[in-house]
Amino acid sequence: MPVVETFEVEGHIVDSLILAKVLDLVLEAGADYRMVAVDIGRTSVDPSRAVLEVTATDDAAIGRLTEQLRVHGANPVGTEDAVLALADQDGVLPAGFYSTTNLATEARIDGRWVAVANPEMDCGLVVERGRPPPEGPTVRTVPMHRVRAGDEVVVGNDGVRVRAPEKPRGVSTFEFMDSEVSSEKPKALLVRNLADRMRMARDTGGRTLAVCGPAVVHTGGAPEVARLVRSGWVHVLFAGNGFAAHDLESNALGTSLGVSVAEGAPTDGGHSNHLRVINEVRRHGSITAAVEAGYVDGGVMFECVTRDVPFVLAGSIRDDGPLPDVITDVVAAADRMRELVGGVAVALMLATTLHAIATGNILPAAVETYCVDINQAVVTKLADRGSHQAHGIVTDVGPFLRQLADELGA
């Protein structure tokens, strides 16, 4: 998308041929200009001034051109530096703080646009000046509880700009699908397209994140997720106590919430199976220890442990047990999730509402998110909460995962 920036250059720009040079540089860079104003000094002592509107192909081009033109005294105008205020207390942002979106964001610091390192919604922007030029200051999102007294925080909206995610060229299946979330979509085509995106991500070094709800196990999808982990298609896993407990239960005892995964029939005393499994894992001290002791020999958690795929199990108030790996402090759990989302290019939200929303909240908009749920409301809810990069697929997650794993040759 073309980007327009207005530049001003002042001084003896006519006699010094500075104006001619600036205009030539604009054209040589493949950009174009429109003269907005030219005031020529009356005498040889009077300075002249020119304002020109420069149109370049994209932001990278305007950035390079800005650096070039700045050397010759032509500076962007109409844009002010972001206003900064010092946090005066740990865990509290200054009043009037700029509240972030998950879109690619830039803040203008010391006259130049600095890209925010880790876009995340509902955070503050903290400026760090530790590094000398040419790297210069950096800007990162910081959730309110992690701000520290003395941090320089952006306040107000001046000097901050966000950019909507770029649409890929051409019409893709997911693009036309974005108009509405519907159960009436050709699933095989959607699966093929998702598999293509996952391959593209893996080829370019991007990681895939799976966020799983317990229904993945109940619907028989856990072995498919385990296949995806084992064959290197899933690189990070987020879930809760329930998903992990039922995955372990189905592998240790062959049931999910007491129901035989193979036969679909309730087993005798099965209602307490998941409690017994949690209890045994607690006896081992961790899921890793239970896997190493041979307590389970398959399943998603087993594959994560044996393949060193990092996982975060975030707790909630109704959890049984919980499993020893569950982080019961939700703020700490979200921080741990933040540490693991770097480099994630594709996120699969599989039959989960709360974990999907929590994950959606911390992901940059550039991450392609696929929300798979039998309930259309869950899919639209995630989109409504601002994660508008979410693609919805309304379907039964178990068969969907089988198709996806087959498509990927997992």
């Binding site: 002042e10 001084g11 003896h12 006699d15 010094s16 041929l17 500075i18 001619a20 040079k21 005498t43 040889s44 002592v45 300075p47 050397v71 010759h72 005294g73 500076n75």
Partner: protein, 288 residues
């Protein structure tokens, strides 16, 4: 018969003895800290330059050196002097690009204030290295930018001194100040090293200087443009034969003054002097 109409400035210079001079850091391609400066020799050469200038009819004023800033010996970079006719003389101190030299600013500002100069300052964020990057020619300042000075500083300098400034982009890091690429000789002529400028800068000089002596690249790299002109005497650090012959043909007396110890730091005769009698108001500028 000489047709020289001598420059209206260049009869009074500020110099700083090389008591603390040495190549202690590297901020231009000529500086190599492993190359030792012979301080006695440097002293001898500096005394020789002072004697040469005095013999040519110039007055030399000496400022006390400061041991924290070894490059203070290069007084050309102290700032821009403008006598402003009958008004109080004006001094615009330099803002140095490199931290190694930034300590010089207040030392020179204090000295000029003590001599009765009004000290006017550039905005602190703008770098400009004084007469090293601003030489007067026909009432216009030719100001270099890129390596040591910022282009917008020229605009501000023009406002402060009330004279037109033309900016020249310097393109060769070895010729990092304008006074290594340009030397006004009289009211028509100047030594010009086009290798130091971009095409726009060359056109600016062509339009300004009626009779340029274009230096070849090899001649330019000898630092011969970093010369001091006192009336009809040209004091040069090195005199390439062709340049010397042309200057003598025009009627100049050419004196070669060995400042080899200072060339080790990337400075020649001009760098070691600051003209104290530049008056940008009484000299008439070119037709606009």
């Amino acid at each position: 018969v000489s047709d020289i109409t001598a420059l209206p400035w260049g009869r009074r210079y500020l110099m700083c003895p090389p008591t603390h001079f040495g190549v202690l850091y590297e901020i231009n391609p000529w500086m190599h800290t492993e190359v030792a400066v012979d301080r006695d020799r440097a002293h001898g050469q500096w005394e020789g330059l002072m004697a040469t200038l005095r013999a040519a009819g110039a007055e030399v004023v000496v400022v006390e050196p400061d041991d924290s800033v070894p490059d203070m010996v290069f007084t050309a970079n102290a700032g821009v002097v403008n006598l402003r006719g009958e008004g109080p003389p004006q001094f615009v101190p330099s803002h140095f690009r490199f931290p190694e030299r930034q300590g010089e600013t207040e030392i020179f500002a204090a000295w000029f204030a003590s001599q009765g100069f009004a000290v006017d300052r550039l905005r602190p964020e703008l770098a400009h290295e004084g007469a090293g990057d601003a030489l007067p020619f026909l009432g216009t300042l030719l100001s270099g930018y890129r390596f040591r000075s910022d282009q917008p500083a020229a605009t501000e300098l023009s406002r402060l001194i009330g004279a037109p400034v033309r900016s020249l982009e310097l393109v060769d890091p070895r010729l990092y100040h304008v006074d290594i690429t340009f030397c006004p000789l009289d009211d028509r002529r100047a030594l010009c090293a086009p290798m130091g400028w971009d095409d726009y800068g060359r056109r600016v000089v062509e339009a300004l200087v009626p009779e340029p002596l274009w230096l070849t690249d090899d001649e330019a790299l000898t630092f011969c443009a970093n010369s001091v002109v006192v009336g009809s005497t040209v004091v040069m650090p090195v005199t390439p034969p062709r340049v010397g012959r042309q200057l003598e043909a025009w009627g100049f007396d050419v004196v070669t003054c060995d400042v080899g110890e200072f060339l080790k730091a990337g400075g020649g005769c001009r760098c070691l002097t600051l003209s104290l009698d530049v008056d940008l108001e009484t000299t008439t500028g070119p037709a606009p």
